[in-house]
């Protein structure tokens, strides 16, 4: 993992978040949520700052980050694609949809495309089981997705301008 240098501004931001939670080690998960919300991901250097501020070992921070699937140490693509792998989606074919996304983007789950445009992830039930199988691109939900639709979904974002289209 290449070392990154955090700007003073970023460090200040992290410190502020920690201070908001009283620099309490027991607030680690809340702090991580907030910081990831602001920075998009939690690289090693960020975890080091958090550990120092909360006065806990950086190993513990890393242990927590790697425990919870919500936290990521890799920056997500410009358009993060999440495929619901809940049971309802699974029995309605989400596996094939995932395979098609992998094939089209030539990346595995948890990776980003070389141009950093797309990243691919699985998520547990989003609760839109009526629309199964469900795919999310950013905040946008696509329902009843078939492998054949995958190409078009990607194309929507490829041109650089995400066109509004009906989701269900």
């Amino acid at each position: 993992m290449p070392k990154i240098k955090l700007s003073e501004k970023t460090i200040g931001l992290i410190k502020d978040v920690c201070a908001d939670f009283g620099n309490q080690g027991s607030e680690l998960i809340n702090v991580l949520h907030q910081v990831q919300g602001k920075l998009g991901y939690l690289p090693a250097e960020v975890q080091e700052v958090i550990a120092k501020e909360l006065n806990i070992s950086v190993a513990k921070v890393y242990g927590v980050v790697t425990f919870y699937s919500f936290f990521t140490m890799i920056p997500m693509g410009e358009f993060p694609i999440s495929i619901c792998m809940g049971t309802a989606c699974y029995v309605r074919g989400s596996e094939q949809v995932l395979a098609e996304f992998k094939r089209q983007l030539s990346i595995e789950v948890g990776q980003s495309t070389a141009d950093n445009k797309f990243s691919l992830n699985c998520l547990r039930c989003v609760g839109a089981c009526g629309l199964a199988p469900v795919v999310m691109v950013g905040e946008k939900v696509y329902g009843r997705v078939s492998p054949q639709m995958v190409k078009n979904i990607i194309a929507e974002y490829k041109e650089g301008c995400a066109t509004e289209s009906k989701s269900a």
Binding site: Q47, S57, F67
Partner: protein, 583 residues
């Protein structure tokens, strides 16, 4: 005291409320096997995540099996420890662990000392029915410790030691599910971390996941090199434990046999780190008295309490965690480094051997000593004062390689001039020993009177934090003792807050002091072994004619011939050091 009645394998047993099923069973001679569980009695060290599930037993009326190590006995409980259901479950669980474990027992550093290997044998496992993917992690080699975590079984003992006991916080469980393993942050190498190399993780690891860096090969090469003069020093705690490696009972003192073995291995001179320990007392004791006198004279700038600095893991600990306090510990080097420094100057001159051709090997109960000897400030033009620091366990390997029947060796004496020592030096091997040795000397120098008594029982024991006030002829001197870095942290935080009542504090990283060092024969969770070693150390002290460091004639001679006086400029140059901010 509420008592609980239960039956285990149909045998009735009465135990105190709060007793685990495991303990209750062992009290009537039923040894339920355990793997991840570890408890060092009376030392406040316990690891019972309930993770390995090897100790499961059947409890009547309970749906599933219960882990004996963390299930409390309750009134009327009916336990069965070896029904077919239990045996099948236990064997399956061990088979599963083995299915995710490299089967390289024959060449594993831990072979013969591996608790997993023993367990497989104990349960008579002859086939692993479940095969599949095995965890693959990067191997990590540091100056002292090798992490081969493909062999990690997630017992979490190292994590407990590193965090709860030592509060170093390098190791943590990371990832989850099948990928879960204990590792430093970002799975980085230990030498990039704040690891102190105290080696307590190695001391408790049940498998070969954590082992020491083996330098026996390099020592054998040096011994067979005709251009080299190879000398050896042995730390005080080694003699109280080495015998265990040869099947002798814990607490057997094997000083004489150890010397004989080293001589047979071909070392040109067999010396004693105890000599350097006496030297340490001269320097450190003088430093204490200087600071104390200045303090009593009203000097506000003087730093008190003075902290001992013999323990390299403790030094690295405060360099990382309390760098702002780096001018508080004594500047005296550890005995190992004092020895190396004197050997490669005074002694090398004496025998007319060039520094480059003199190889200093030390036998240490410790892993951090490997790291300490590699610190750049302890070398001259790239030539280290101590070339190789072997552990007690490595020495045992060397003795085996030398085809030596250790038990039948005669007792032999150390060589001179660096082999003479007093009882004060030998007790360096246990918690409380360094400060007791310092008190013996400082008292006499401070008061100018002979000690009314030599044994300071109030400084001894196994409690993690101890304190005592010693009357220096009307001047009360408050002494603190901590072993285990977690306990040390408490004292440091007090000092930081300005609440410390002490004039001098002894700190040792390992539970029990050096007798419980990371390089000692494995105790496998038996605290009795540490206590027996401690008793052996004190008995050696008792049997010595000379029991105060300043009475060591060869030390006096060293000052006369070479160093001048304690804290002289030469002594400063050769026997003192400085500390670095590593935060």
């Amino acid at each position: 005291m509420e008592m609980i009645n239960l039956t285990i394998d149909q045998k009735p047993v009465v135990v105190r409320k709060g007793t685990t099923v495991l303990k209750a069973a062992s009290s009537i001679g039923i040894d339920i096997p355990t793997l991840c569980y570890m408890k060092l009695d009376d030392m406040n060290i316990e690891n019972k995540p309930g993770g390995c599930r090897v100790c499961v037993v059947e409890v009547k009326g309970r749906r599933n099996l219960a882990p004996a190590c963390c299930t409390e006995a309750t009134e009327g409980m009916e336990i069965s420890t070896h029904t077919i259901r239990v045996v099948n479950a236990r064997r399956t669980v061990v088979e599963l662990i083995l299915s995710d474990h490299p089967a390289d027992c024959l060449i594993c550093a831990k072979s013969g000392n591996c608790e997993l290997q023993d367990m497989a044998h104990h349960l008579g496992i002859r086939q692993i029915h479940y095969q599949g993917e095995q965890s693959m992690y990067r191997e990590d080699t540091s100056p002292a410790i090798i992490r081969e975590i493909n062999k990690c079984i997630m017992c979490r003992r190292c994590e407990t030691m590193c965090n709860d006991v030592q509060t170093v916080g390098v190791l943590s469980a990371v990832n989850r599910g099948f990928q879960a393993v204990v590792a430093p942050a970002f799975e980085m190498n230990l030498d990039h971390s704040v690891c102190t190399y105290c080696g307590q993780c190695v001391a408790v690891c049940p498998t070969g996941a954590l082992t020491e860096v083996d330098e026996t090969g390099a020592v054998i090469r040096a011994l067979s090199d005709p251009t080299k003069t190879v000398i050896v020093q042995t730390a005080p705690a080694v003699r109280a434990a080495l015998g265990e490696e040869f099947g002798m009972p814990a607490g057997t003192l094997v000083t004489g046999k150890m010397v004989a073995a080293l001589r047979r291995l071909g070392f040109d001179h067999v010396f004693d780190t105890d000599f350097a320990a006496d030297l340490t007392i001269m320097e450190e004791g003088t430093e204490l008295l200087t600071r104390l006198s200045a303090y009593m004279a009203g000097d506000q700038n003087v730093k008190l309490p003075i902290l001992t600095s013999c323990c390299p893991a403790w030094v690295k600990f405060f360099e990382h965690q309390f760098p702002e306090m780096k001018d508080i510990p004594s500047t005296a080097r550890s005995p190992q480094q004092m020895f190396g420094s004197i050997a490669k100057t005074y002694f090398a001159d004496k025998i007319g051997v060039k520094r480059e051709n003199l190889v200093v090997v030390s036998i240490m109960p410790c892993l951090a000593k490997k790291y300490e000897s590699s610190r750049p400030e302890f070398s001259v033009n790239g030539n280290p004062d101590v070339d190789f620091a072997l552990t007690t366990r490595e020495l045992a390997h060397l003795i085996n390689l030398g085809n030596i029947d250790f038990k039948s060796l005669p007792n032999e004496e150390f060589d001179q001039p660096l082999g003479e020592s007093t009882g004060a030096a030998v007790i360096f091997g246990t918690t409380g020993g360094v400060i007791e040795a310092a008190v013996r000397t400082a008292y006499e120098i401070f008061t100018g009177k002979p000690l009314p008594r030599i044994d300071f029982e109030e400084l001894r024991g196994m409690d993690g934090l101890r304190k005592a006030t010693i009357d220096f002829n009307g001047t009360p001197i408050n002494i603190g003792i901590a072993h285990g870095l977690g306990n040390a942290r408490k004292l440091l935080e007090d000092i930081q807050a300005g609440n410390s009542e002490f004039h001098a504090i002894e700190i040792m990283s390992c539970p029990g002091g050096c007798i419980g060092g990371g390089g000692q024969p494995y105790h496998h969770g038996d605290a009795e072994i540490l206590k027996k070693r401690q008793r052996a150390i004190y008995s050696e002290d008792k049997n010595k004619t000379l029991r105060k460091s300043h009475e060591n004639p060869y030390i006096t001679k060293l000052y006369d011939e070479f160093l001048g006086a304690p804290m002289s400029e030469k002594a400063h140059h050769l026997l003192h050091t400085k500390y670095f901010d590593r935060s």
